[in-house]
Amino acid sequence: MAKPKTMLVYRHAGVTRATHWINVLALTLLLMSGLNIFGAHPALYWGQKATFAHPWLSITAETHGNSTIGVTQIGGAKFDTTGVLGYSGKPGARQPVAFPAWATVPSYRDLADSRHWHFFFAWLFVLNGLVYWLVGLAGGHIVRDLVPTRADIRPTNLWHEVVTHAKLKFPKGEEARRYNVLQKGAYLGVALVLLPLMVATGLTMSPGFNAAAPWLLDLLGGRQSARTLHFLAAWAIVAFVLLHLFMVVASGTWNNIRSMITGRYAIVPDGDAR
């Protein structure tokens, strides 16, 4: 039997591709500079103010006698995280620092400079997001490609998608031209909820912005709550990116990467029992 020919389809518009890669750069640097900023006070609280003796999370170094260890405390539980969290660096030259040098920008503790990185790329991230949303709404991308259809959200379809996803069986032919409902949910959730939550929680830590939008401070439950939510949402984005990268590899690394660079995506016609 002749091998079925793959077909190149135009999958991603230029704006989608450009904003995607700008986001990769901005979010990477925001995460790394953010982890450096966290190191200036490596403890998290809920509410308006710090309760210094009782953070819900802290990442610190503890010295007992002549040995120092990294301690990560979450609620009432304490973990020895020497080498990664709290106390890291080359053995013999370890430093008390919340996140290790390889995870932060700059690689050494520097609150002033990590703030410069953070706010510069925060602006890039926000402007990039605005372009994505304006073009996506005006051009119809978001409604056409991301909002689930009635057929998408039928329970039988949802179940079908969950099962085929779990088996890493990906659609072919016409079905491969569009996002399935789980992709739609994930992308829309990130673009509509998670990324705007990062901006909202970030802005709520700004005392200047608090005066402009006190309702946001109330909505998020206080400035220290906003800092906590900012931290948690950042890790939720990391979790999304890891899952996203796993799916990219599982469903065809180079095909996916090409489609996000040139826009062209190869689909295999139906009936190919590969």
């Binding site: 308006q48 390889w102 706010f119 925060a122 830590m205 005392p207 402009a212």
Partner: protein, 259 residues
């Protein structure tokens, strides 16, 4: 045993470690380059303008209830200045303390604590946000800066108010380690901007800046200068210390501390 780089996994690991190392080195080089980090810091101007655009210049910082006051308000920066002049004031209970108000003013002033207490005052329970990330809440009571400046009469050229402090956080032979801060006239005349002489209904303690500290709500903790000895009206602050408008600004922090 084969060398780690001869296996596919080992090769991938080595390649990603090399790429990560290059990335980190590039970021560190950008940070060390004054022009490059200056470019990143240009976002500060955008932030200040955007915040001034969306916030009314008189918009108030949130004020809290008495029950919200922190029992563990963290003192930061200098907490017990060692300068002999300051020690003498502490020993005398600030009886001979005088706040000098000068620079671009029509009538330079020299005010005792009693004079300051007689000025129009304000009480507010506000949140202090340290640039490090923590917050504490306290009740502040002090002289409103706006009426005080009006009493001295600002000259038309005055654009900034500089606060000279008694403490040296980082003693330097040229005096550039002296703590100081500056704000513009929008913040100087904001109704919540006060020279606080009381905290939580007691005289301001030494660790929090006795006898007076600035409260310029809507900005971060390093703007809240402690141990203020002199208030100077200036046209610009380029000639003071390292010229960036404050002790921490001279060490890389943003002059606009609203974020």
């Amino acid at each position: 045993m084969s060398a780690p780089t001869t296996t596919r996994r080992g090769w991938l690991k080595a390649a990603s470690a090399a790429a990560g190392g290059l990335w980190l080195a590039a970021c560190d080089r950008i940070t060390a380059n004054p022009k490059a980090i200056g470019f990143l810091q240009s976002a500060e101007g955008l932030t200040r303008r955007a915040q001034r655009l969306v916030a009314d210049r008189k918009a108030l910082a949130h004020e809290y209830k008495a029950s919200d006051i922190s029992g563990d308000f963290r003192p930061n920066g200098s907490i017990d200045p060692a300068e002999p002049d300051y020690r003498a004031h502490v020993a005398q209970g600030f009886a001979n303390y005088r706040l000098v108000v000068d620079g671009l003013v029509e009538r330079p002033l020299s005010l005792s604590l009693a004079d300051l207490r007689a000025l129009p005052s304000r009480t507010q329970i506000t949140r202090h946000d340290c640039v490090e990330g923590w917050s504490s809440i306290a009740k502040w009571h002090g002289a409103r800066l706006g009426p005080l400046l009006d009493q001295a009469g600002l000259k038309p050229q005055a654009r900034y108010i500089v606060f000279h402090c008694a403490d040296s956080l980082e003693p330097q032979p040229d005096g550039s380690g002296q703590y100081y801060e500056s704000i513009d006239l929008i913040d100087a005349y904001h109704p919540q901007t006060i020279l606080a002489y009381a905290m939580n209904d007691f005289a301001l303690p030494v660790r929090h800046g006795a006898p007076i500290r600035l409260r310029v709500e809507r900005q971060l903790g390093y703007k809240q200068a402690k141990y203020i000895m002199r208030v100077e009206a200036v046209a610009d602050f380029a000639h003071i210390a390292r010229g960036k408008g404050g002790f921490w600004e001279d060490r890389g922090y943003e002059w606009y501390a609203g974020i």
